[in-house]
């Protein structure tokens, strides 16, 4: 359907359809973010032997996040006097817009996808890098030493961990022979890539957690050393935009891991009668749960350990994985 739309002539009707689709996706993502935050608090609560939110919206605290967002909307919007005003205002937008853009290429099922781009995988990684520009801009514009430190850390971390992230998926690209996310899922019919690429999966997962700025790699916003890192001067809805960008990336990265390594919408053998969307949702939920589990069980690494781990451990392992995959592929071809 989207293909036909893209090739038709421009008009208000088409614009309206695209706009509507985008709004629907935005609402779905906002719904996810609302309940992801609740799930995070609940899961962390139970892992730490407490209940988590249980007052607003019944026993499960189902309206807790809604109440929090309403509070944020009503909050006073503070811009520090010495802040760089135009940059301070534009930074949350630069940080959030790419987070929403990357969602366009992710195939949720074989029919539900917004843009089937030939270089979908690279597109995701490239566009997600723009967010760091927004974070550094916001950090500098705040005119606060803790914010600037957080921004510097965010930049260093993004550059160091983007390289292992890309290198670890080269194995997947070699096996599937394509950068297109649909083709990558189709190539997993004979077994998910988590089975064929276990090393690549582990490196990708660690690098993904680092790219998401989550514990144990949440140095840009380490609250115990930097108060709140890059968003310390932000309040109200601008702050909500940074948070929203973070959780949208959480959504997108969990979906990307599902697509790359867990076979996307493909079912397990003999269970093909369950629709693809359900399979995707199940795998996606599992990935999200593991990410929440990481958050509540790992301590934060030190800044120097972070850099050393990225460059001296993850990168060589990812390179060795590429070499090994190519070698095995050639050997299999020979015999």
């Amino acid at each position: 359907m989207v293909e036909d739309l893209l090739h038709s002539s421009a008009g208000w009707l088409n614009f309206g359809i695209f706009f509507l689709l985008a709004v629907v996706l935005l609402l779905v993502v906002l719904g996810f973010v609302t309940y992801a935050i609740l799930a995070e608090r609940k899961v962390m609560g139970y892992m730490q032997m407490r209940h988590g939110p249980n007052q607003v919206g019944g026993r499960w605290g189902l309206l807790q996040t809604v109440a929090d967002v309403l509070k944020l909307l009503l909050k006073e919007d503070v811009i520090p006097k010495l802040a760089d005003r135009p940059l301070f205002i534009i930074a949350p937008v630069i940080a959030f817009a790419p987070a929403f853009m990357v969602l366009a290429t992710i195939p949720f099922t074989d029919k539900f996808q917004f843009a089937d781009i030939g270089v979908g995988l690279l597109y995701y990684i490239a566009v997600s890098g723009i967010t760091t520009v927004g974070i550094v801009t916001g950090a500098w514009a705040s005119n606060n030493k803790y914010a600037l430190l957080g921004g510097m850390r965010a930049a260093a971390q993004m550059i160091s961990y983007e390289i292992p992230l890309i290198m670890s998926v080269v194995g997947v690209v070699l096996l599937s022979g394509s950068l297109n996310l649909n083709d990558i899922v189709e190539a997993q019919k004979n077994g998910w890539f988590i089975v064929w690429q276990p090393i690549g999966f582990i490196v990708f997962f660690i690098a993904a957690v680092a790219e998401l700025n989550r514990v144990p790699f949440d140095l840009p916003e380490a609250e115990s050393e930097l108060i709140a890192g890059f968003h310390i001067e932000y309040s109200g809805f601008r702050w909500a935009f940074f948070m929203l960008a973070e959780y949208v990336y959480f959504f997108a990265m969990a979906a990307l891991i599902t697509v790359l390594f867990l076979g996307g919408w493909l079912p397990l053998p003999f269970l093909g009668f369950i629709p693809g969307a359900v399979w995707f949702a199940l795998k996606f939920t599992a990935v999200v749960f593991i990410l929440l589990w990481f958050r509540s069980t790992f301590p934060r690494v030190r800044a120097d350990q972070l850099m050393e781990f990225g460059w001296k451990v993850l990168l060589p392992i990812a390179l060795a994985n590429i070499f090994l995959t190519a070698l095995i592929m050639e050997l299999v071809k020979l015999f």
Binding site: A10, L87, L122, I125, V127, V133, L148, A155, I159
Partner: protein
């Protein structure tokens, strides 16, 4: 020319990239200049997409988002906090500059107005990632490898320079 979606997209991307370029020259604060640069680079990547060169577009964003972040950090670290650059140009210099700009615009206009590449039917727009890969690793393998050796040499040179500074700093302490 019909008003198709492609034309509208081109127009908006072109306006953003030109505006970014103009702001890049006119703004005075370092970080503002770099943010203007971001807009220029991203809209040029958008124009690559319109020309169905997705791989080039994505590579552009991938490389420059990291590069711009680094430039921004250097801009922050190597300049003073409230530093703004002011132009100190005399009247004669401005006139000469204007003439130079006019001359450049005129020569470019003459150069490209009647330029005709001829309509050669090609298949460059389909599967261009694969085609780039094929070309790089078969026809242009030697230049490609030479470039990687050059980059490696630059990398090692940078490491050696950084190391030397470190030792001197240690001696001073």
């Amino acid at each position: 020319m019909t008003l198709s979606g492609e034309f509208l997209a081109f127009l908006s991307l072109a306006v953003v990239s030109v505006m970014g370029g103009v702001l890049l020259l006119n703004l005075t604060k370092v970080v503002h200049v770099i943010v203007a640069l971001v807009f220029t680079f991203i809209s040029i990547a958008g124009i690559f997409v319109l020309l169905s060169a997705e791989f080039l577009a994505v590579a552009q964003i991938l490389l420059y988002s990291g590069a711009i972040t680094i430039i921004m950090l250097f801009g922050i670290m190597l300049t003073r906090h409230d530093d703004t650059s002011e132009t100190k140009a005399g009247g004669l210099r401005k006139v000469l500059l204007f003439l130079g700009v006019l001359g450049f615009a005129f020569s470019v206009y003459i150069g490209i107005y009647n330029l005709d590449f001829g309509q050669v039917p090609n298949t460059l727009h389909e599967n261009n990632t694969e085609q780039i890969g094929m070309a790089l690793f078969s026809k242009y393998i030697i230049p490609f490898e030479l470039t990687s050796v050059l980059l490696l040499a630059a990398l090692i040179g940078a490491i050696i320079l950084a190391k030397k500074d470190d030792e001197k700093g240690a001696e001073k302490e």
